[in-house]
Symmetry: D2
Subunit: 352 residues, 4 copies
């Protein structure tokens, strides 16, 4: 079940970049949850391509269709299936890439693993697939809103060599939605936008970091031993193509502290643990940060392996994001919401 994620609340993903639809099946959602389609569409709009000049110019409205599981606007307890059409696929861009393996992409490993590769738009490995995750994550958020006041929010904390000047938890994250790059500090956001535009002109790409916080999670979410909340969040986040690292709370910086400095006594809200202790939410805000590598697709010519085992120098045609982070923010939120909703459900049996 490689294309299914979750325990009690699961999503099953399907579709390819240049097929007729990408889609998702959400199973395990309790009945009688109001399925607010305007809310879901807003989530998709934050991820969709072409939303600003910083993103790929592929034009997809990402208008979705719910084909099951909802009756008179409420969930029925049956699986919710969502279809999102692909309308602006330009497969001819990919004919030229049929016989080369784009660096950093799935091309090489898919060919070796499966021996049968859909090269059009990256096929199954395309980030376009995450539109389904975002729709599913919006439904998870609707569930969380119905049963709790858990809030999931992500934002861009750094792009390449431009980072927020202060620790990321010291900003008003709501400001992140005021600019195209989704960074809560206006000056930093401006500099990031300028950088991305320049990188785009150069035919290159950049990565960066996204921070995520989850407020109001009740104490007790997470299932030791192996379904620890942080372990599940890590798995969810590493499912996002460009993510190369994750750290919770002080993360790698905690290695520079003594035990006496790093221990949270749960009284002074030092929160070095990032809201999760021993795999269980501890009542503090859950905080983690992700490293995104630079977008693999660049138009600068690169040396690549080809299917005959030689190398050639190729410039990747097509429309690409010079920096995926602005559009990745809603993807991070979606996967986090799915994990939280799943663990909220798993935890119900303890609520007495």
């Amino acid at each position: 079940m490689a294309n299914t994620f979750g325990n009690q609340l699961t999503i099953t993903s399907f579709g390819e970049s240049h097929g007729p639809f990408i889609g998702v099946v959400i199973d395990g959602l309790p009945s009688n949850i109001f399925i607010d389609t305007v809310f879901i569409q807003k989530a998709l709009d934050r991820r969709k391509p072409g939303q600003s000049n910083l993103t790929t110019q592929r034009q997809e409205s990402d208008v979705f269709q719910i084909v099951s599981g909802v009756f008179n606007e409420y969930s029925t307890g049956s699986p919710i299936a969502i279809l999102i059409p692909n309308k602006d696929a330009l497969s001819k861009d990919y004919e030229a890439l049929k016989n080369v393996y784009r660096p950093g992409h799935a091309d090489f490993v898919y060919d070796k693993k499966y021996g049968n590769r859909d090269y059009k738009g990256g096929g199954r490995s395309s980030a376009r697939i995450t539109a389904g995750w975002v729709a599913a994550g919006a439904i998870a958020s609707l569930y969380l809103k119905t049963v709790s006041n858990i809030e999931v929010k992500a934002m861009v904390s750094s792009i390449y060599n431009i980072a927020l000047p202060k620790p990321y938890d010291q900003y008003d994250w709501n400001n992140a939605e005021n600019n195209a790059v989704r960074c809560p500090d206006p000056d930093t956001a401006d500099a990031m936008e300028t950088l991305i535009e320049r990188i785009k002109m150069e035919g290159n790409s950049v990565g960066g970091t996204i921070a995520c916080k989850i407020k109001n999670a009740p104490i007790g979410l997470g299932e030791p031993l192996f379904n620890k909340l942080n372990a599940e969040l890590a798995k969810a986040m590493l499912s996002i193509n460009a993510v190369k690292g994750i750290q919770f709370g002080s993360g790698f910086d905690s290695t520079q502290l003594l035990g006496s400095q790093n221990n949270d006594n749960l009284d002074n809200h030092s929160n070095h643990d990032g809201g999760i202790t021993a795999g269980i939410s501890n009542g503090e805000t859950i905080l983690f940060e992700l490293a995104f590598k630079p977008t693999s697709s660049i138009s600068i010519p690169q040396t690549m392996l080809n299917t005959t085992g030689d190398t050639e120098t190729v410039s990747i045609p097509g429309r690409h994001d010079p920096c995926v982070l602005p559009r990745a923010v809603p993807i991070v939120e979606a996967m986090a919401a799915l994990v939280l909703a799943d663990h909220y459900l798993l935890n119900l049996k303890y609520l007495k």
Copy 2:
């Protein structure tokens, strides 16, 4: 199934720090694998307490018993159950801690989640449980040795402010077993030992980083979409209590590179991706690094919440590791071997 890990090859963990046994059930191992008990014991010996003056002085020989699944020294295809007795539990040390929540430990969250806490030695949340993982990981390694030449190796790359002077992949990792701290550079190892001894005297603790490499993984391990090899390794590693972060290949440093610099063309072995692209092993050495927070148990008095909602200042009695990293090295290797063996099995259907 919070206490079960894996897809085709699973481990189910049970036991508590001060119970009669901790144990593990390994399910899904193919039949006819030679179960080399000497090899398993060696793995356990590398994790066991009391192995050097850097570790807790709890004395456990960790001599294990296989109670099923092996016949005439070979696996039968039936579940392999392993018991490891607890012989040196000193529960009286914990009576004093019955009503306080040790910072950084599971005490508080377990009490709130379950409403029923085994406070003796941390009960189920004790790192002692990982002895079972190490035994299971040794069996996964025996499987890998039988069917492939995949090699998993971990070592300590930094402790507190003492780090390897060169990038971690530039050392001969076999040297890591020559010293108590499990660091491949002798001078760095000496400095680390001195540091840990000093920290121990001070009743404090330190964390650090462990690096892990997996050599000779065939191209193609990992199951997109959600069972990506890196996602599964991340989940496995974040299951280890003190781990607060993970990064693959260049990880967080990849955010400081341009796409043109970071892309691996699979020809020059730049390996920024750490051997995994799009969730699938790409033929390069798999590399990742983990952040371990400082040990939560320290004897320096700390302010703690207690079960009546007040705070008190308490010095934690008992025997603890001032630094868990030397003993965590075999745990990291065990979990990595389990993930690799699992994905080797999952990948069999593609081998034609």
Copy 3:
């Protein structure tokens, strides 16, 4: 994951009787399997409504669309999603049934369990959902054909009080496709057709038995302890709405034999065990038989509970099958093929 079935090869079902599509996602199919769409359509045609005067007259061509997982006619290893449109739903027939619970149907239990019921055509509980199973089962059969010569075949062995005169394994099952009722004996089939036509005129319904045989299954399929081949087949078959019983080999009749009579010595092919011993295929033909209760929907007026807790006498309008068995034959085959393909994959690791 209530809507997902299988271990290594899974299907996830979605859709409702009167929604835009019903569908299925098949995950875990190895790559490079030829996806013969003509073969899949033939399987769907055997299940579709309106195929003879013995079935409901709802007109659905059940022309399917594959929206992912297939590239140039071969599977890619990615999930295969299939959509089947609903074109002839007459929801107005169901407005009259909005407030009553049809006996034998899901109406009452869904309302009590979920508190939100899609009453149109039975919504999610409709047998129409099994079209997706049949499409998925056809793909499982294509896999089995590619890798083995396992053959799955089902047929009608009795309808109400008309049964095959000889034990069901003594017929040429290929003849079952020569008549609308799918019974291999022409005379019995004629009598069954006459019976069903009469029952239909009376506005009543009948049940019966379907037998299934699986030839050429290699010795060794089935995973003790709990994933025994018979246990998995039983779960698969009891997922079919009207099935109320299953027996393997001599089944309930084996209780009338002494051990010395019932034991198969694997030499004389007595096959009382129905091809499965201790949960594992033993090389004999796998044989089982299913009891189908009479169709719950009848036009004869019945006393029913209604949503206000009273009873009323209602005649069910709409188009229904007076006997579901002829159309259930391909459903039984589909679920059996899915189980066999799944266990073929699970067993690969033992093939040395």
Copy 4:
């Protein structure tokens, strides 16, 4: 995870007939459930060998040890592991059977599947393994008693050609515990005992039927589509070695009724559906019946295949049950209780 059963409440089984222990790990049990060890022992005593002259004379007290998951007599939410020692294994009885395949047993299929067979006492395929299921089932019952008034009860309804004279639901099932055969009708029980004693003297064996009823299950248990309550019960029951068939409610007899006769209108408690409609408990008593084939082990000489591919005539030594049904009653109850507890947990999210 072939040795794990369940969704939210799982059991993982391990052990062999002649190993040091057989055992079980119960995961997912909520915390704070009183673990009544006397109750568990009583359940084991009803299954243990040597309890009457109708059973095998292997002497096992089946005194169990809980090694984790319980603190001060209450569940902690951690996995409960239970060990049951094997004390009276006579492995020498099996040396003679090392090279032959006992008819009806796992010997042949295990050898072919795994290529490595523990022939001592049947190894992993021994019915002795079910002692762990019974202990786990007793814990499931303790959970059900804590949270609901669901009651699970099984009894013997027929042995060979001796059957209860009236339909099985017309007896006071509590009487079943008053005799060694576990049949609620005293006269029938006497006849059954006499029969079994005679069959035992003859060195032969008999099978029969066990009926099971579950009272007070709330409406709504069962998870469509594929985790229907009846499908899960069927899978559970077919996991029991000798079970060759299952039927719910009227089962195979429902094929002899017209729809107008068979439909339950939920008003007159006709209960042809056996308490489960569309896979969900409907508020009526859940009823099902199981076919057990005669015990495979008989001392009458039989023709058997041997490991060199020839046949030989062998009399099986050792101690065996001439009829497994009296001891199977608590096994049926245990598996049913596990399914009910699991589905009770799965259903919690709908209880508002």
